[in-house]
């Protein structure tokens, strides 16, 4: 579930292959001077480090759940 949620969040925020961003740059052009103005707009874009943390966390939890299952089975026997 965690792996799917992480992957879904990463895809939903643009499948960005770089670091996580809390803003994106939009270039506006000033009508009189013709100057390009990069404007920061607040937007969360999930990066690969959070994707990695989510997937590793999911793998760790999956591993732990197998251990827990094994212990439970032994108790029942």
């Amino acid at each position: 579930m965690l792996a799917l949620a992480t992957l879904g969040a990463w895809l939903a925020t643009g499948a960005h292959s770089g670091w996580t961003k809390t803003s994106v740059t939009v270039v506006e052009v000033d009508a009189v001077t013709g100057l390009e103005n990069p404007v920061q707009q607040k937007k969360f874009v999930m990066g690969v480090e959070l994707l990695g943390v989510g997937l590793i966390g999911a793998a760790v939890l999956a591993g732990a759940s197998f251990l827990f299952k094994t212990t439970k089975t032994n108790n029942q026997q």
Binding site: W19, D30, V32, T33, L35
Partner: protein
């Protein structure tokens, strides 16, 4: 003798005055907040792109004599920003730019060369003192100047005057300015590309 001395002093003042006769002072503190400096440097995974909008300064410019350009552009170091908050903290911190101690990045023009007229625009190489991270070095920057006569009122209503647009793109090395020289260049490149997009206003009185 006294008369000759007075005449020569008067002539000297007249000559000095004529050198700045057509020069206008342009204020680069843009009320519209468009003026910006963009910096770009390579790093693993993705290039670091950032901007700064805290720009001020004054440039004296005579459209008839572009080579007489002189002045200073100031960038507030705290206005430098990148989209990643962790990276922003590192960049502004003591190990990198140390913006608490080195509050300003400045360029003071001292000499203009290779002036070329391209229609309404002028290109030139501007030499000046560039100060970053408390280190000052003389550098030469290729610039494009556009003098926009009577265009100020189109940007700022009810304010007649002229605009001077300056565009520049040049590279510096962070190690030349003592910016974390110990950091490996394969992690954060030594070369920084700077792009300046500036408009200065000269209101008519």
């Amino acid at each position: 003798m006294n008369k000759q001395l007075i005449l020569s002093i008067a002539a000297s003042f007249a000559f000095a005055g004529s050198a700045f006769a057509g020069s206008q002072a342009f204020d680069f503190k843009d009320p519209k907040g468009v003026n910006n400096a963009v910096f770009k440097l390579d790093a693993p995974l993705e290039a670091i792109n950032g901007t700064a909008h805290g720009i001020s300064g004054t440039v004296n410019y005579d459209p008839e004599k572009p080579e007489s350009l002189a002045g200073k552009i100031v960038v507030d170091a705290k206005s430098l920003t990148v989209p990643n908050p962790t990276m922003l903290g590192h960049m502004q911190g003591a190990q990198w730019l140390d913006v608490e101690q080195f509050k300003e990045i400045t360029f003071e023009a001292t000499k203009v060369g290779k002036v070329k007229h391209e229609g309404a625009n002028v290109t030139a190489d501007v030499t000046g003192k560039f100060t970053l991270h408390g280190v000052t070095k003389e550098i030469t920057v290729p610039v494009k100047l556009s003098y926009l006569k009577d265009k100020l009122s189109q940007r700022v209503p009810n304010m007649p005057g002229d605009l001077l647009v300056i565009r520049a793109k040049f590279n510096i090395k962070r190690t030349d300015y003592g910016i974390n020289p110990g950091a490996p260049t394969d992690k954060v490149s030594d070369e920084i590309e700077l792009t300046l997009s500036l408009a200065g206003a000269s209101p008519k009185k």
